[in-house]
Each structure stands twice: as structure tokens, then as C-alpha cells.
Amino acid sequence: MTDDEALMQAIVAGDSRAYEAAIRQHLKSISHFAFRMLGNSKDTEDIAQETFLRLWTHAGTWQREKASVSTWLHRIAHNLCIDYLRKDKSALSSEYEDEHAGTDRPADAPEKAEQLQALQQALEALPERQRSAMVLSHYHGFSNKEIATIMDISVDALESILARARRSLKAQLKH
């Protein structure tokens, strides 16, 4: 039996310690993903809470042969983020600058700070599926097959989305 199976069996049986262990193991990745998709901490918290609520209530629907627990949780978070963005596009607001206003940056690197800001804006301007694919690929290190599972698309479709996302980001940085 794999670690994932043991964990999910314990959660299905109502083991609260296994549930807390799963939260500790996956919360950082899920919340960072949601933040990079939505750009603000309030909605990120809603998505994280809902994702882990579904882990508790729907653990019995997880299938070992289809996805790892991490992939399954990211799929839930991805679907919640897409639903959220489609319901209320105007709510997409970036706290990135506020969050990191106090971050120490070398005084001799204003150009890099501008580049980072431009990149952040370019990332936020990407269509939601391109942004999701890019975030999962670059920051979370998922393979293309895993990302295709998370996004419920074929690997070929995913690779096309990733190529467009990278081309778009590179083009934005040139301006």
C-alpha cells in the first residue's frame, strides 16, 4: 500500500490526525497555486478551505490508479479557481505589490524590479488555462502528463497551451 493510499483510507475512516497531516503536507502548494491564479489572499484562503473541505467529504472518490493525492487536490483547486474566475472576472486583483512592498531589494536593481513587475502583470494577463498550466509547470514541477490530468485535457492540448503561454510571456518581456 502506498503512502497516498494509507492516508486516504485513514481520512475516509474519519481519522482527524491523517486529515491534519494531509493538510500540512499539501496546503502550501495548494495555497501558492491559488494565489498565483487569483492574486489575492482572501480568495486564496476560500479556495484552500474549500479544497480541504472536499478532501474530507470526498476522500472516498479518490482513485489511486488515476492520480496521486497531490494531483487530485490540485485538480480540485484548479477547478475551483477556474469557476471563481469565470463567475467574477472583475474580482481578479493583485496584492503582489502590497504583499511584497517591504521586501528588500538592492538599490542598484531598479531595472530588475521593473522586469519583475512586468512579468507579474504578464502572468496575470495570461488566459486562465495558460496561467494555470504555466504555474503548475514552472512552480510546482508537475510533469506535462500530471498537468494534463489536473486540467482534464490531453497532453497534446496542454503542450500547445504551455507553448503559447511561454511565447506570450517572452514577448511581453521584450517590450
Binding site: 501558492h32 489572499s41 484552500a48 514552472h138 511561454r166
Partner: protein, 149 residues
Amino acid sequence: MNMTPERFAQLVETHGSQPARWPAQERQAAEAWQRDNPAAQALCHEYARLEALLDALPAPVLPGLEQRVLQRAASLASDSLLDQAMDWLLPRGDRLLAWIWRPALVACLPLVCGIYMANFFSFGISGPEVAWEEELALLALNDYAEIAE
């Protein structure tokens, strides 16, 4: 597989600038192509710069989030007697049982409510004893009618 400028660009755009992330069956050809082509090196350099900038974007800071999620988890997982009863009534985990049991329960609910309400409110209908007496009286009237004929 023979490498072409188009295929090399597609590889880098799809998998990034790091050869370790390129598909194993094309990695050797792609690395050789990169070594021999300045244009391929320039393309890789541009995407490597993009990746370095993505890495430099600060990670989100979400103070207290873990504590709040764990608090909610604790409230979910702490079973009261009512929760235990609900767990028994609405089983989690066993999908087959849940799929049969839950619709059956939901389907029975209006029936149970109907029986309870009918029992609680008489809606002007008298009890069975009275009804029986009325029936006897009607039978008696029938008998008189036959005699009259």
C-alpha cells in the same frame, strides 16, 4: 528523430530551457542541435532568462492560513453524537452503499413526513370508532327502508 529549428523551438517552448525536462527520446538530438546552432543557443538563453525571472518572483506570503485551515479541519473532524448519528445514516467512504442509501433515504423522507403530519393533524376526520358507529347507523337505516317497501 532528426532535429529541425521548428522542432527545437517547439521543445523549448513546451518544456522550457532545461534539457533535463526535454523528452528523453529527443534529448540527445536536441542537445547536439543546441551545441551546433547559435540561434538555438540564443533561443535557450531567452527562455532561461524568462525562467530566472519567474524564479525571482517572490513566493506568496499567507500569514496564519495554515492555522485557520487546521482550525476548520478540527471542527469538521470532531464528531458530536449528532455527527456520529449522521455518519451512520449517511455513510461516507463506501461509495456503493452511499449511492444506494442516500437516494433511498431522501425518497423516504416525504413519506415519513406525510405519515407524521397525517397522524398529528386530523384534518376534521374523526377517529375509527366514530366512523364505525356511523356505518352501523347507516346499515340500520337500510333495514328500515327494506321494511317500508
